[in-house]
Amino acid sequence: MTRLAPIVILVLLVIVFANAAFVVNEWEQVIITQFGQPVRDPIVTPGLKFKIPFIQKLHRFDRRFLEWEGAVAELPTKDKVFILVDGYARWRISDPLLFFQRLRNEMGAQSRLDDILDGETRNAIAKHELLQVTRSTNRVPEVDEAMPELKGHLEEISEGREDIRQQVLEAGQARTSDLGIEVLDVQFKRINYGEQVLQDVYQRMTSERRRIAERFRSEGQGEKAGILGDMDRELKRIQSEAYREAEGIRGRADAEATDIYAKAYNQSAEARGFYEFLKTMETFEATVDPETLLLLSTDGDFYRYLKGSGP
């Protein structure tokens, strides 16, 4: 008996110690309750800690940023477009005591966040148009130098995605402040058209593209016609200018030649006579060929010499 006593005491000490000591991990915070009532300040620093064994109970909570995933819901916007909104939030247990009192555990918190954030998201979406939910700023779209026709258009918005997000966040923060939790951020992870709307959107996109395609085709034809027209005009211009210049050159040359001839042939009455004679002779010479039948009268000048020189 006396030999066993120390062993029993040792075992009991170990059991008591094991119940009194506990490790708080880096990512944890702990509150301690005694008969269901929280006692002491929450433990928010990690390390080895002690409590009164058996009487006090340990409740561990996460100290990290926690996730909240919204349910994917098809919500109508102010302009009655049904969109699928998939939101998420990050939150943390900022006051573990309050959290423990109000929500008990994380499951309770998730379900309360569902109510609050899903509801606020629904409200915010319903109060805004789709364009506002999609866009954030009034930026000017960049233009593709190669295809300026495809510039597209961003309509002016007064409020944008960031504002709506901020509204949901603020409303969520206000409604969770007395729950011992802090909502850090709400984001719209996905916003897409509902299946019904999608078909309409596809049709609109298709017709928009067709319109652009038709415009390109028509532009091509127009450009072509324009270039061919230019070509015709240019062709006529070149040809007529050449004609004008060529005829001008010829005319000036003719005039100069006429002048030269006139100066030579018209210097005196005698010169004129001589020219006529010479030209007649030349013409005569050029006219006669082997086919020519020449009728020569003895009365003509030529035979006059013949006759006149006879005996």
């Binding site: 062993i7 940023f65 990050r90 779209p141 258009h153 996905r190 996109m205 005698e270 060929d289 009268s297």
Partner: protein, 321 residues
């Protein structure tokens, strides 16, 4: 101290002790690989970061080590998954449409696939500040990408705006990662396939085709233009040169003629009668041999003319010429 039950032999006792020591030892030695660091936690409390190499820790769960690959570049894929990485990697997009479908600022739908490359730079934050840090990072990437795409036209997203989107998403994602204390550094955001949704793809292709068609028509017209106009210009030059040639010829000849006339006229004036007669006779002497037939009419003869056929052919009937 109570006495332990007696062991059968000293040798076995040594073996048992050795085994216990080995078990304790093996749980207190660990290796950190070159691309990793070890985050050491003693009794729940962060107590330091170990560089690569061999390290010891206290056994029995007093010390815990979390290994984080801080040197390795990590990657998250959105809208697709690599099935088999390799020279020719295989991808799937099946069931990931929700991830890649998004709305553009002009309310068009577009399918965007992208990759985010990142590294863990603060293992403490990465491990202890955010639960489900990887999932959070995915959510952040999706939200930021949609925000940025939602502020752009479909054409920007498909063509010119890609680089800008990558840069902007990278910046904004980093801001959120810091705000969330994820300990992650975004290295690069890379847009992969960015496409219009399948049902509207044909019409997008049609735009490209019609754009090509437009270029083709313009090119055709240009080539027609280039075929015709330079030739016409050449021909115009030819016409003008011909006219120049004509002009030169005309003037030179006129000058030649005039100069010849002048010379002859000068001589003629010295003896007009003789010269005239000489030229006349010379001409006749040239002409006469050339003419095929000659008929010399004495002025006293009559009745020859009726016999002549003036069209130049010989009269066969009536005998003789």
């Amino acid at each position: 101290m109570p006495k332990l039950p007696k062991l059968p032999a000293g040798g076995i006792r040594i073996v048992v002790i050795a085994i216990i020591v080995l078990i304790v030892m093996s749980s207190s030695i660990y290796t950190i690989e070159p691309e990793e660091v070890g985050v050491l936690v003693r009794l729940g409390r962060f107590s330091g970061i170990n560089d690569p190499g061999l390290h010891f820790k206290l056994p029995l769960g007093i010390d815990k080590v979390f290994k984080v690959a801080v040197q390795r570049q990590l990657k998250k894929e959105f809208g697709f998954r690599t099935l088999e990485p390799g020279v020719r990697s295989q991808f799937t997009t099946a069931g990931l449409q929700d991830e890649s479908n998004m709305l553009t600022g002009d309310l068009n739908a577009v399918v965007v696939e992208w990759v985010v490359q990142y590294r863990v730079v603060d293992p403490y934050k990465y491990l202890f500040r955010v639960r489900e840090v990887e999932e959070t990072f995915r959510d952040l990437s999706e939200a930021v990408m949609r925000k940025v795409v939602g502020d752009r036209t479909v054409n920007e997203v498909l063509t010119v705006g890609r680089q800008e989107i990558e840069d902007l998403v990278s910046q904004e994602l980093q801001v959120l990662c810091d705000q969330y204390e994820t300990g992650i550094r975004v290295e690069q955001v890379v847009l992969q396939d960015v496409n219009p949704p399948d049902p509207v793809k044909p019409s997008f292709n049609e735009v490209n085709q019609s754009e090509q068609e437009r270029e083709r028509m313009i090119n055709e017209a240009q080539s027609e233009y280039n075929k015709i106009i330079p030739r016409a210009e050449g021909e115009a030059r030819q016409t003008i040169q011909q006219a120049e040639g004509y002009a030169l010829n005309r003037v030179n000849r006129a000058q030649g003629d005039a100069s010849r006339f002048e010379s002859m006229y000068t001589e003629y004036r010295k003896a007009p009668e003789v010269t005239r007669t000489r030229i006349y006779l010379e001409t006749m002497s040239k002409i006469l041999p050339q003419a095929g037939r000659k008929v010399i009419l004495d002025e006293e003869l009559e009745g020859v003319l009726p016999l002549m056929n003036l069209d130049g052919t010989t009269i066969q009937k009536g005998g003789g010429q």
